[in-house]
C-alpha cells in the first residue's frame, strides 16, 4: 500500500525560484526512507507539502487517503493529526512542560483527558524521557529535546512520521540514539521519512535513500542490509 505519492510535483516560490521540479516519489507503508541532499535541495519543502503547509505549483500529492492538493482547508487539521512531524527546529512550546507539549497533540485531537494522559506517558516512555516530563524545554539537552519532539510526533500513533533533520545539531552518539529510536518505531509499522545531512548514518543504515539536489531527485536506491550494519554506533 502506498503511503506517500508525489506525481510530477513542482513548487515555485514567489521569488521565481524553483524549490522542486517535477518530482515523483512513492513511499510504501512501513518503509523507512532517508531524504538526503544539501541545504536548499527541497527536503523541507517536500515535508511542508506533505502536511499542506504549502501547496504545490503543479502535480499531485497523496498522503494515506488524503489528496493534498484538493484537501479542503477545514480538513487540514485532520491530515496533520494523522501525520507525525519532527520539525527541524523542534517547535516545542517553551512555556509548557514536556508533558504539556506532548499532551497538546491529544487535546487538539479531542482525545478524552484520561486517555490523553495515558498516551502521553506511553509516548514519553517509548522515547525514554519520562523522567523529564515536568521539565521545560530549556532544561533539556539537545538529544532529550529531539526525543520530546519525536514523542509528540508519535503520541497519536500516526501512520507516517516525517522527521526533518532530527540529528541536525546532535553529536554522533546521540544521533545514533535518535536514528535507532526511529528505526524501532518503524519496525512497529510506522512509515518514516527522515531528512538528513548525516551521510555517516545514511551510509551505515540498510535503508532506502532518496537524494535531492536543486529540487530534483538525483538518487533513489535501497541499500542491502549487511551484517556489520547492525548495531551501529
Amino acid at each position: 500500500m502506498t503511503m506517500i505519492r508525489l506525481d510530477k510535483v513542482t513548487k515555485k516560490f514567489g521569488t521565481g525560484a524553483f524549490a522542486l521540479s517535477d518530482i515523483s516519489l512513492k513511499v510504501e507503508k512501513g518503509e523507512f526512507v532517508f531524504l538526503i541532499g544539501p541545504t536548499g535541495s527541497g527536503k523541507t519543502t517536500i515535508f511542508r507539502l506533505l502536511i499542506r503547509d504549502l501547496l504545490p505549483t503543479g502535480g499531485n500529492i497523496f498522503v494515506s487517503d488524503f489528496d493534498i492538493v484538493k484537501l479542503p482547508h477545514g480538513k487540514i487539521p485532520i491530515l496533520r493529526k494523522k501525520v507525525g512531524v519532527v520539525f527541524q527546529d523542534l517547535k516545542l512550546l517553551t512555556d509548557r512542560t514536556i508533558f504539556e507539549n506532548i499532551i497538546l497533540s491529544c487535546e487538539i485531537a479531542n482525545i478524552p483527558k484520561k486517555e490523553a494522559i495515558e498516551k502521553t506517558h506511553e509516548a514519553l516512555k517509548r522515547v525514554g524521557i519520562i523522567e523529564h516530563k515536568e521539565k521545560f524545554p530549556v532544561q533539556l539537552s539537545g538529544g532529550e529535546l529531539q526525543r520530546a519532539a519525536i514523542a509528540r510526533a508519535l503520541v497519536l500513533s500516526p501512520e507516517v512520521v516525517l522527521a526533518d533533520e532530527p540529528t541536525g545539531n546532535l553529536d554522533l552518539a546521540t544521533s545514533w540514539e535518535i536514528v535507532n529510536l526511529l528505526s524501532e518505531i518503524n519496525k512497529k509499522g510506522t512509515t518514516i521519512v527522515m531528512a538528513t545531512h548525516n551521510t555517516e548514518i545514511v551510509n551505515k543504515m540498510p535503508l532506502r535513500i532518496v537524494g535531492l539536489d536543486k529540487g530534483r531527485i538525483v538518487r533513489d536506491e535501497k541499500k542491502e542490509e549487511k551484517k556489520e550494519d547492525k548495531n551501529k554506533k
Binding site: P77, I78, R80, K81, F87, K91, D95, S105, I108, A109
Partner: protein
C-alpha cells in the same frame, strides 16, 4: 485545557489584562450610572404624574349639582384617571394643617373664603393641557392650575439625559472594542509562534481562537461587574444626600430586582463586547 490556556495568557500579561479590564470597567460604570439615572428620572416623573395634575378651583356661587355635572363630563371624556373633590370644609382643614404653627393665619381664614376644588389626574400626561383648557371655559370654574410645564421639562431632561447617555455609552463601547482589539491583537502577535506550532500539529482555527475569545469574555465579565459595582457603590454612598435633596420623591431604595436585572443585562453586554472584540482581533491577526 482551553480555560487553563486562557488563564495562563491573562497571567502572563498583567498590564494588558488590567488595561482591558479598566477600559471595560469605564464603559460599564457609565452604562450603570445612566441606567440608575434613567431609573431615578422615571421614578421622579412617575411621582409627578401620580400627583393630582390639575387643580380646579370653583367659584363661590358654584352649586353642587353643577360641580357633579362637571365631574360626570370629565369622567365620560375618558381622559381622566382620578378626580378628588375637596369641599370648602376640607380645604379649610388642609389649610389649618398646613398653617398650624401660625395662629394669626388660622384666625383670618374661614371656609367661606376657601374655594371648593377638584384635584384631577389624567391617564396620559399629554391630555393635561386639553382637559385644563376645557375646564377653564366652564362658567363655575374660578381658576385652573396645572404643573404641566414642570413635568414637560422633566420629561425633556430625562429624554436628553437618555440620549446623551446612549451616545456616550455607544462612544465608549466603540472605544472599548477598538482598544480590546488592539490588546488581544498584541497578545495574538506575542503568541504567533505558538499558534504556528499548534497549527502544524493539527489545531483547528477554533482551537486557537477559543482561549483568546474566552480571555475577552473574562475581561468583559470582570470589567462589567466592577463597573456596575463601583456605580452602585457610588450611589449607595450618595444616597443620604440624594434622599434629602429629593425629599418626598420616592426614588430610594432602588429595588433589588432592578439592580439584579441591570447587572445581568450589563454582564451579558460585557460578555458580548469582550467576545466580539476578541473575535475581531483573532480574525484580524490570525489571517
Amino acid at each position: 485545557m482551553v480555560l487553563r490556556t486562557t488563564w495562563h495568557n491573562i497571567r502572563r500579561t498583567p498590564y494588558q489584562a488590567f488595561t482591558a479590564i479598566f477600559i471595560i470597567l469605564q464603559t460599564f460604570f457609565v452604562v450603570s450610572i445612566f441606567a440608575l439615572v434613567a431609573f431615578g428620572s422615571s421614578r421622579i416623573i412617575e411621582y409627578f404624574e401620580s400627583l393630582p395634575q390639575i387643580d380646579v378651583f370653583f367659584q363661590n356661587e358654584a352649586k353642587q349639582e353643577e360641580i357633579d355635572s362637571l365631574k360626570k363630563q370629565l369622567e365620560e371624556s375618558g381622559k381622566v384617571d382620578k378626580i378628588r373633590f375637596v369641599s370648602k370644609e376640607e380645604a379649610l382643614k388642609i389649610y389649618q394643617e398646613q398653617n398650624k404653627d401660625d395662629p394669626l393665619l388660622l384666625e383670618l381664614v374661614t371656609s367661606d373664603i376657601l374655594p371648593a376644588s377638584f384635584h384631577i389626574s389624567t391617564f396620559d400626561i399629554n391630555d393635561i393641557s386639553s382637559v385644563a383648557e376645557s375646564l377653564d371655559k366652564s362658567s363655575i370654574v374660578e381658576r385652573v392650575v396645572f404643573p404641566q410645564q414642570v413635568i414637560s421639562r422633566l420629561i425633556q431632561w430625562a429624554e436628553s439625559l437618555r440620549q446623551v447617555g446612549l451616545a456616550l455609552v455607544v462612544f465608549l463601547a466603540i472605544d472599548s472594542v477598538l482598544i480590546m482589539v488592539i490588546i488581544i491583537g498584541i497578545k495574538v502577535s506575542y503568541k504567533r509562534e505558538d499558534i504556528e506550532i499548534m497549527r502544524l500539529i493539527g489545531a483547528s482555527n477554533w482551537y486557537i481562537r477559543w482561549p483568546f475569545i474566552l480571555e475577552g469574555v473574562f475581561y468583559g465579565i470582570v470589567g462589567g461587574v466592577l463597573g456596575f459595582g463601583i456605580a452602585v457603590g457610588t450611589l449607595w454612598y450618595a444616597t443620604p444626600y440624594l434622599s434629602s435633596f429629593l425629599q418626598d420623591i420616592p426614588v430610594f431604595p432602588i429595588p433589588m430586582v432592578f439592580l439584579l436585572q441591570a447587572l445581568g443585562i450589563e454582564v451579558l453586554l460585557a460578555i458580548i463586547l469582550g467576545a466580539l472584540s476578541s473575535y475581531l482581533a483573532v480574525v484580524r491577526y490570525l489571517k
